[in-house]
Symmetry: C2
Subunit: 232 residues, 2 copies
């Protein structure tokens, strides 16, 4: 998570969280992967206590599951949870866009356009890591400008979760959404056209979800029983 909490001391913990998050969305770390504390501690050159803090934060964000005395694994949201996450996030995004349309300033429009420009640059440069980060930050920027601290936090968690789901279920090659849809959302917001802005945002989210393969067959094995028995 590049967003939130850049406190100077906890920076190590955030670094760990960020790396794990990035590895997940880049599909380097597959869901279900076991995360041993000592290994992580050695990898990041940190102590186990720090790793433990990071894992606790990641659990709050739903990126890892933390079983008592069993350790941490990358979370494996099922299709049910996937639909739930997208539906909830869509609802929050719609609300944020509506609010932003009503209070947007010219200066904020410049900020949004600048961000989209950065996205475009990363897209053309083929910098996949920057594209991933900027794509997420775009939505967080909307939340920031919309001025709702709570909705901001909520959207942060939902964005992380949908990122995991996208990395988990996306069928085709890692086709992260281009900046065009973001640009159209910004246009609508800049024009203070609420209904168009909502429509664009809805289309954007549905497009994101539609690219996933959320059929039952590749649901992760809940306890490997159904995985090996063909889940009759």
């Amino acid at each position: 998570m590049p967003w939130l909490a850049p406190t100077p001391k906890n920076q190590v913990v955030n670094e760990i969280c960020d790396r794990i998050w990035l590895a997940v969305v880049q599909r380097t770390l597959r869901p279900g992967t076991r995360l041993k504390e000592e290994d992580l501690a050695e990898i990041f050159g940190a102590t186990r206590a720090r790793v433990r803090q990071a894992l606790a934060l990641l659990e709050q964000d739903g990126l890892v599951t933390l079983s008592p005395n069993r350790g941490a694994c990358i979370a494996e949201p099922g299709i049910e949870e996937a639909h739930d996450a997208f539906a909830t996030r869509l609802h929050v995004e719609q609300r944020l866009v509506t609010r932003l349309c009503r209070k947007i300033t010219a200066e904020q429009v410049v900020t949004l356009r600048a961000h989209v420009a950065r996205e475009r640059a990363a897209h053309q440069a083929g910098d996949s890591e920057a594209m991933i980060r900027l794509s997420g930050e775009f939505h967080m920027l909307i939340a920031t400008l919309a001025e709702g601290e709570l909705l901001h936090r909520i959207l942060r968690t939902l964005t992380i979760r949908t990122s995991l789901i996208t990395a988990m279920y996306q069928a085709r090659s890692a086709q992260t959404c281009g900046p065009d849809e973001h640009a159209r959302i910004v246009d609508a917001i800049a024009a203070r056209d609420e209904v168009t802005a909502i429509a664009e945002m809805t289309h954007h989210m549905q497009h994101l979800e539609a690219e996933l393969d959320l059929s039952d067959q590749n649901q992760p094995a809940a306890g490997l029983r159904s995985a090996l028995l063909g889940r009759g």
Copy 2:
């Protein structure tokens, strides 16, 4: 928080969280109170590590603020955040009620009615602690029955935050809402009457917020400067 996470081992941490939460909503612990780790450790007979875990969780829920090298204080949400919390919670509650209206079963109605009956019993018995707990659990029960894990978690946080705000700003004597409004909400849900259910829930939340004194004058001092200078 009586709700969530009854793991056998972390029970100590939850106990600490619960006690602190209860003390806050009962106005025994005022917002802004400094929470020294060693004191809490001795009070609860736990070690400082456990207290630290509890404080970290409470910070996630927005009940305490955690400043680096400064320790923990009971959070002091301003009137802006108060309105934000109530508005967001209202929105979530409306969504949950809508969803529940569409999928409610007879058995679930029985569960809801039984809960309201317990509220009524506690109300007549004058058990204020039980009233507080059951009032919160009523809304969480709705979220549970509505079957949205994410909305459930979101509402949990929002409920905790509004509890803090209520304890902080409520003007009259601790008049926690009687079970009557809850009963009417249940009636509407049982009848699958979405619009009435939403209306009742909205009325309930507005009633809760209306009883607070959210005028600027008793906003907590942001740095005591405005507190002592009369905040010109």
